[in-house]
Each structure stands twice: as C-alpha cells, then as structure tokens.
C-alpha cells in the first residue's frame, strides 16, 4: 500500500513538473517558444494573459503565439495571470527584470498595470494591449481589440430589434468591479436608453462570471417570473450556458425567447445552431491575432502603429452560424 502511494505521488509530482515545463500553450508558468541558447538572437516578447482557464483568452494567446512562432525569430513567453491583478503585476516585473523586447498585456484591470506600462515606456519597450484597453494617459501603448461598450451596445441593439416593444426581457450583467463589467453595462444601458425601452427591462441582476452562478440565478428568477419573460441579455457566453440550462430545466422553451450573448465560443455557436440561443456577438479572434502580428512587425521595423486598432465583430445567429461553426 505504501509503495503504491509513494509511486502515485511520485507520478503526480512528475506530471506537475511536466505541466510546468512543457505546456505548449503557456498554461501556468512562462513558456518560451524558443530555446535558451537562442534567446539572445531572438526578439523576446512577453505575453501576459489575464487567465489561461478561459476559452476566449486562451484562443487569443494561442493565435498570437502561433503567428510569432511562424515568424521564426521571435521568442514568445506567456504568463498566466489567473484573474489576479497582483499576480499579473508581479509577472510583468519579473519579465522586465529578465529583459524583454516587447510586452503584450491582456490586463486583469486597467489601473494596476499603468505603472508597469510607464516603466516599459521609460525603458523603451513597446507595449501592446489586446482585447482590453487602457485609459488615455496611461502611457504609450497600442490597443488591439473591440470596444466593450460597442460590443454590448451591438448585442443589446440586436435584442431590441428582435423583440417587439412592450415585450419584457431579463438583463444579467457582471458583478461590478472590473473595467469590462463597467463598459459592457454602460453599452447595454445606452442602447436601451437610445431605443427608449427602459420599461421593457423585467429585472436587472448581477452574476459572478461563471456558468454555475448564472444558472443558479436564472433558476431563482424563473421561480419569481415563471415564463413571463420574452428575452434574456447577458454579457458573456459562459453565463448564457447557465441561463439556457435553467430555462430547459424549468421545461420552458429557449427557442421561443430572444437570448443574446457575447464572445462567439464554439459551444455558444452550437446553441445558436440548435435554436436555443438567438445570437452571440463573435469577436473575430483571427482578425485580432493578425492585427496584433502586424503591430508587432511595425514596431520591429522601427515604426509606430496606430494607437487604437479595432477588430471585426460579427453577430452570429441562425442566418450565418454555419459559416463560423467549423
């Protein structure tokens, strides 16, 4: 028994070491794409991901990493912030002390990384932020991504266009505390105000950014409102899975309602295909990665790319889901 336990623990430790050292996607610790001996010849890019355990963010990271590796002379190192602002700042500090040629940040929050952006500026290290931008005056950087305000505005506009005036909808938003939450909330509220449809909001509730939390919340809301709602708007795909599970569990028909979301993840598009989700706003990750690579090359050749580079967003619904669900 003891030998078995010792063997199991040894195996576990070996696996965890392997996980830290050979992960192709830069899961938890830094994962240089090039060898140590080559690092001095290569252009060193440090990529700071907000959280590796997030489909959308992992796809962005992998897309940029693949393009850097294809370039052949770039050493790409990825760090996992694990949704922790302090951890992300520490990782940036560590990378700067090791020496890098460029920094790409997907910030957990905008404020905590400002001082690090400014340190990079002073050291002459170019800074890119992807998916989440920084406030003007935070330093010199190039932002590549969408505007969260516009994303939520587009999503809400779609819902309002597909829901007759007077029909009621449930608005689910992120728990406040992050820039993304604030921007998407403002975008949705602005679209509702512009359409003069404030009275059509049945209720507004906040959820922690998990499927389980959104599902619990929606189950409780169904206890209160039953089937007396015609639409649901929520600010990411993760939450919409929970919403649809709850509607199905209550033996209501999700396809009879207008349900909208943001992200365009594969399972969400499968739900669009099956008719349970009306629309998800897909952020075009390929476009984001291409434009990031163009910005990298511009910096490397001595130029300066535009301050804000916006990517395409696509409303994926029944009319076009087959194009994107491959």
């Amino acid at each position: 028994m003891k030998k078995f336990l010792a063997l199991f623990l040894s195996l576990a430790m070996a696996l965890s070491l392997a996980a830290c050292s050979t992960s192709p996607s830069g899961s938890d610790e830094e994962t240089p794409a090039g060898g140590e001996e080559e690092s001095s010849e290569k252009y060193r890019i440090a990529y700071f991901n907000r959280d590796d355990a997030d489909d959308f963010l992992a796809n962005i990271r992998d897309g940029i990493q693949a393009r850097c590796e294809a370039a052949g002379d770039i050493e790409f190192t990825s760090y996992n912030g694990a949704s922790d602002s302090a951890e992300q700042v520490t990782q940036i500090e560590d990378a700067l002390s090791r020496g890098v040629d460029m920094v790409i940040i997907l910030p957990q929050d905008k404020e905590s990384v400002i001082s690090k952006v400014q340190e990079c500026n002073e050291a002459g290290i170019p800074v890119l932020t992807v998916s989440v931008g920084l406030e003007e005056g935070s330093g010199d950087f190039t932002y590549i991504g969408t505007n969260d305000y516009d994303l939520a505005y587009q999503e809400t506009q779609y819902l309002l266009e597909h829901l007759e005036p007077g029909k009621k909808f449930i608005y689910l938003r992120f728990t406040p505390g992050s820039y993304v939450a604030a921007q998407r909330d403002e975008g949705t509220l602005a679209a509702i105000a512009d359409a003069g449809r404030e009275d059509d909001i049945l209720t507004t509730m906040e959820y922690q950014n998990t499927t389980a939390a959104a599902q619990k919340l929606m189950e409780d809301l169904i206890q209160v409102y039953g089937d007396d709602f015609d639409g649901v708007i929520s600010h990411n795909d993760k939450s919409i899975y929970g919403v649809i599970n709850a509607i199905n569990a209550a033996q209501l028909d999700p396809s009879s309602k207008v349900i909208c979301s943001i992200d365009g993840e594969v399972p969400a598009m499968e739900l669009v295909k099956s008719g349970q989700l009306t629309m998800t706003v897909k952020q075009d990750i390929e476009d984001m990665c291409d434009k990031t690579m163009e910005a990298i090359e511009t910096y490397r050749s001595g130029g300066t790319p535009e301050h804000n580079i916006y990517i395409n967003t696509i409303a994926v619904d029944a009319s076009n889901v087959d194009e994107y669900l491959t």
Binding site: S25, S27, D28, A53, N245, A249
Partner: protein, 329 residues
C-alpha cells in the same frame, strides 16, 4: 461563588439546547424570513429548486463532514471539482459516450486525489491546510494541462447531462444522488464502528490511539471517502452545467465548509453528522435563494453572507466554550 456557578449552568444549558436544536432553529428562522420576503419562496417548486441547485455542494459537504469529524480539513475542493469534472467530460467524449465507465473512472480520479491528500497528511504529518494548497495547485495545473484552458465541447445534450439535469419519476437525478450519499454518510457515522472511530479520533486523538484505534488509517480512509464524494459532486456539477469548464468558479468548498460548520460539525473535530450538514448547507442555499428572489444586488449579497458566517462561527465557538466550562465545573 454560587452566582458564578448559576451563570455557568445557564450558559451550559443554552449550549446544550443550541447543540440539540440550534441548526433546526436557524432553519426555521430562515424559512420564516423567506416566507415573509417572497411569496414564491415556500413552494414545492422552489424548495426542489434550492435542493437541486445545492445538490453538488451537499455531496461535497458529506465528504467535508467526514474530514471535519476527524479534526482535519480539505481546502482543495474547488480545484478538485474542476479537475475531476473536466476529466469526466474528456473521458466521456473519448469513450464515445460510455456513461458508466466515465463515472467509474472519474470516481477513481477523485479517490486517488483523496489518497494523495490523506497520505501526505498522515504519512508526513503535514498540516491539512498546507496539503490543501498543494493539492489545489496540482489540480489547477492538471486541469489547464488536460483542457488547454478551453471548455470541452461534445457533452451538451448527451446522456452525460442526465446526471445533473435529468429526472427520475419526476424527481431531479442530482437530488436522488445527494440523498443516497446522505444516507451512506449517516449509516457510516452513526451505525458503523468506523464512524465511531472517526468521531473518537476527532474528539481526542491521543485517547483514541491509546484505546487501540489506528488513527492514521482512519484519517486516510476518511480522505479517500472525501475524494470519492468530491469526484461524484464534480460529475453532478459538470453535468448540470452541460459543458466541462476548466474555470468553473470558486467558493464551493468554502460554502460546503460553512454549511457543515453551521450544521454542527466542529472545526476542531469530534462532532458532526449527515443531517446537520444537510441542514447547514441548505440554510446557506436558502439564504442565497431569498436574496435572489428579492432581487438584492451582489454587493448586498456578499455583505449579508459575510455577516451571517461570522455570527454562525461566533455562536459555534461560544457554545463549545460554554460546554467545556460547564463540564470542567
């Protein structure tokens, strides 16, 4: 002198009363508050809804009960849930939808994590808290490794979701699984020698060893059972979500431990039971339900939950203090 004795006696009688009826009284109070707060609260539909929502937490809580009874703790539940849950989805997809083998292999992974936890605690005498951090970190890394940080497609709308979303004769399947786990926990703790040994180890480990109980073996078995139950909870949880997610969220272990504590299990060991844990976790779930039914913002939900946890722990501590003082006099 006699006045002091009287005060101690009164404190002890309150403590005795609380230990017998405290959890039920809190449950009754929550039910009354809920009924006043919302007309939808005290309905069969909503009660089933709350139990179904919390079924995976309750399954974790029965494992927590065993661990707390022997005076230990497990703080790695959230990451164990993520690892076993994602592994179960991957296994299910890889096996082309063989649910039985998926469940068995997933339970095995849960049990192995329990073996690792228990072995580190008993063999190396490491503090359970530190082992929990290590196991948690290991599980987080493994989850990222096996999923690449992505949700696992292929389980939505399949037989996999029957465990978390299905019904059996009109009763939600997770509720049936949860009650089965509760019955097994009750039988082990109340009717089997092993349960008495576990309570003895948690109450006074030295005395238990002196009376011939192999304390380390008991603790190791308890952690294996805890891992098994956590594995089962993970399958119910991911099946409920319908999709394997590497980052399903945090706080589940915290809620389970809080519920078990409210339900009468002491953090220092020696007490606890299946029924108490069931009611304790249900109280936490009902409070969340009331706040959602009332449409309270997340800020107020956090504040109220925090205050209630502190009150519950203070009552628990003061009650035990009074019991100890009363016994000493």
């Amino acid at each position: 002198m006699s006045e002091k004795k009287e005060v101690v006696k009164q404190k002890k009688s309150f403590a005795e009363l609380y230990s017998k009826y405290g959890t039920f009284s809190i449950l009754a109070l929550v039910l009354i508050i809920g009924t006043i707060a919302s007309p939808q609260f005290l309905t069969l539909d909503n009660m089933l809804n709350v139990i179904r929502q919390n079924s995976y937490l309750l399954i974790i809580a029965f494992g927590t009960t065993f661990v707390m009874v022997v005076g230990c703790i497990n703080i790695a539940y959230d990451m164990m849930l993520a690892l076993v849950g994602c592994a179960s989805c991957l296994i299910y997809v890889a096996l082309g939808g063989n649910l039985l083998i998926t469940v068995l292999l997933s339970l095995m992974i849960g049990a192995l994590l329990g073996v690792a936890y228990g072995f580190l605690v008993t063999h190396f005498n490491l503090p359970p808290f530190i082992v929990g951090l290590a196991i948690s970190s290991f599980c987080q890394g493994m989850t990222l490794l096996i999923t690449g940080g992505r949700s696992i497609p292929g389980t939505m709308g399949t037989s996999y979701t029957l465990i978390g979303q299905g019904f059996f004769f009109g009763i939600p399947v997770p509720i049936i699984i949860m009650f089965a786990c509760m019955a097994v926990t009750w039988v082990i703790l109340r009717k089997m020698i092993f349960g008495r040994h576990a309570i003895a180890v948690g109450g006074n480990r030295q005395a238990a060893i002196a009376s011939g109980i192999r304390a380390k073996r008991v603790i190791l078995i308890v952690y294996i059972m805890d891992g098994l139950l956590c594995g089962l909870a993970a399958i119910v949880f991911m099946s409920r979500l319908g999709v394997g997610q590497p980052n399903p969220g945090t706080g589940y272990g915290f809620d389970a431990i809080t519920g078990v504590n409210i339900g009468g299990a002491s953090l220092s060991g020696g007490s606890g039971g299946a029924v108490g844990s069931f009611i304790g976790v249900l109280i936490v779930g009902l409070l969340n339900n009331i706040m959602n039914l009332r449409g309270l913002s997340s800020a107020w939900q956090f504040i109220i939950k925090g205050i209630l946890i502190v009150i519950a722990v203070i009552i628990d501590m003061k009650t035990k203090e009074a019991m100890v003082k009363g016994s000493a006099k």
